[in-house]
């Protein structure tokens, strides 16, 4: 798997965000270097939703934070708004922040417990001194209404009085206050109950249409991203396995890892016996990843070639790309 390559990138002039060969490594100590993201390229075209899917430890959250320069990157470029964020100084990046926002995994921890709901949503507006205080108050009410929270009832309460789902609504309102063009959602529903998950996913869809957002959606759950994605990028140990449209990804996964991932999702229907592909073992360490294709240690189709040569992403037709020497038919 796990390949590099940029065959899947599209015309740079159309993309909102273009990430090339991004590498993020951090040192636990002098000798132990965690290779969280190892040369990932991706692009987002205006209005699309790219989902990044992978299991824990594959580097998907690191990727999201690194794109927004919330953690230092090792090499590669992140082009957003016409400039390479990795080359800009701190203040220049800061000035671009209103255009790129993020929603975090833990809805409760991402809201300061000392602030009221209104203060939380107004905060980004205050940082950037948008409008008069009346205009700000109006905007906050409008945002809260649009995410389904009644500002007259809830506006003056503290965030910890709310459930996870409602906190996530508040987070969404806050991230939209500055009317960003790019929204990165880092596992926004994984801490929520199934019935609440669906509410938040629908809300994100509505907001995307209303504000014309381009979205990157990070998740460990293939089923969650299915309905909302334009394209899905599957990650394993810091590398890209496969990029495809949802339907072709689920119907005919080309990468053996994707195939196993799709086959592992339990289906709530006892009559359907899934062609379960059980993967052996668990992902190896990101400190000392396997040579060549990083998936080869668990791959049913691995050969000599996979150990020596790293597969590059190549087109499989229909805008789908896979990084595998022996893709599935």
């Amino acid at each position: 798997m796990a390949g590099t390559g940029k065959a899947h990138l599209r015309d740079a002039s159309k993309s909102v965000l273009r990430v090339e060969d991004l590498v993020v490594e951090f040192a636990l100590s002098k000798k132990t270097i965690v290779k969280a993201v190892s040369g990932i390229s991706l692009d987002l075209i205006e209005g699309e939703t790219l989902s990044v899917v992978g299991e824990s430890g594959c580097g998907k959250s690191t990727l999201g934070k690194a794109i927004l320069q919330l953690i230092p990157t090792t090499s590669g470029s992140v082009v957003f708004g016409g400039s390479d964020l990795t080359k800009l100084d701190k203040d220049a990046v800061r000035n671009l922040r209103p255009k790129m926002q993020m929603i975090f995994q833990d809805p409760i921890s991402s809201l300061d417990p000392r602030f009221t709901v209104k203060q939380l949503v107004a905060e980004p507006l205050e940082i950037w001194s948008r409008g008069s205080s009346d205009e700000r108050a109006f905007k906050v009410d409008d945002l809260l209404n649009s995410v389904g929270i009644d500002p007259t009832i809830a506006g003056d309460r503290k965030a910890y009085e709310f459930s996870g789902g409602q906190c996530q609504r508040i987070s969404i309102a806050r991230s939209l206050a500055l009317e960003p063009t790019l929204l990165i959602c880092d596992e926004p529903v994984s801490a929520l109950d199934v019935s609440i998950q669906a509410q938040i996913l629908n809300l994100l869809q509505d907001m995307k249409e209303r504000y014309g957002l381009t979205m990157m959606f990070i998740s460990h759950d293939l089923s969650v991203v299915k309905a909302i994605s334009t394209r899905i990028l599957v990650m394993y140990l810091g590398k890209v396995c496969e990029i495809a449209t949802p339907d072709s990804l689920y119907d005919s996964p080309k990468h053996h890892y994707t195939h196993a991932l799709v086959g592992s999702v339990p289906i709530p229907d006892p009559t359907k016996k899934v062609n379960q592909v059980l993967l052996e073992g668990e992902p190896p360490s990101t400190v000392d990843p396997p040579s060549g294709c990083r998936f080869r240690t668990r791959c049913p189709a691995a050969t000599e070639l996979c150990a020596t040569e790293e597969p590059q992403l190549r087109e499989m037709g229909g805008g789908n790309f896979v990084a595998c020497h022996h893709p599935r038919a």
Binding site: L28, S29, K30, K31, T32
Partner: protein, 330 residues
Amino acid sequence: MKSTAPLQRLVQLLLVVVGSTFFVSILIRLLPVGLEDIYVVNPDPVGRAKEISDLGLDLNPFAFYFRWLSGFFRGDFGSYVYPGPTLEPVSEHITRTLPVTLQLIVYVQIVALAFAIPLGLVSAYKVGTRVDRVISNGLFIFSSVPSFVIALLLAFYIGVQLGWVPPLGYAPPFCSAEDIDSATACGFGEHFKLMVLPVVSLSIPLIASYTRLLRTDVIATLREDFVTMAASKGLSNRRILWTHVFRPSSITLFTSAALNMGALVGGALVIETIFSIPGIGFEIALAIGSRQYFALQAYIAIIAFGYVFFNVLVDLTVGLIDPRAKERRK
């Protein structure tokens, strides 16, 4: 990664020793009064200059410190300086007084842990009940009473009024020929009699704080799934408490007990003064009273070394008690 982390830690700890002694060194050179005015009384300018240079007082503070440090690592702990100047090595004082204080501190730790462990386990296991409330509240008050207050009261009521044990003094546990000649108090009996009050006064506040530490951690451990898991194997409560709960809950207790060794020297300083015990605490108080700043520097270096030693000890042993600790430190 396993090799670099402890090394870094050791470097930091050595910095602590160097830092604290350098701090004292600078401090005594910044005295409102020059050391030469205290130690050098020779009126003859030539003799005076020589004496000053013998003591290193003509050097700048850094050179002065370096001179001291290199001496220290060669085993020269410095001297008491009496006008003249006559020098008396600090090491003699240390070999005489340090064992006495170590004895006291070790007794105190043993007594404190011996009471605190059962009390902490019981009050945590019975959390919220009357037993717990009595233990916790009672100990809370004791933990707030300074040990010198307890010492003064004990010395007077037990030592003087009731006369159960001598109110002050010290006797070594083993009699030397000299002790027998001069009929000085010595031997185990005398030793323990005289140690009772100091040990009690220092350990009461400690029992209280150790019990609290253990209680908090045991309560937290009792809520863990692995305790429920152990119960679901059908083990008895007593077995669960000792084999599953105590060890993972004891890290904070043992860590703070080890790191307390230094603080106890501070406590011992007052207690030894009150009970006239010739330990290092008493010695420090005397050195400060008689302006023996070189000696003070040596004592502080010893305490800082002790602090570092116990820090390293904790680092090395915590991993044995709880394998998670190694990871958590990162």
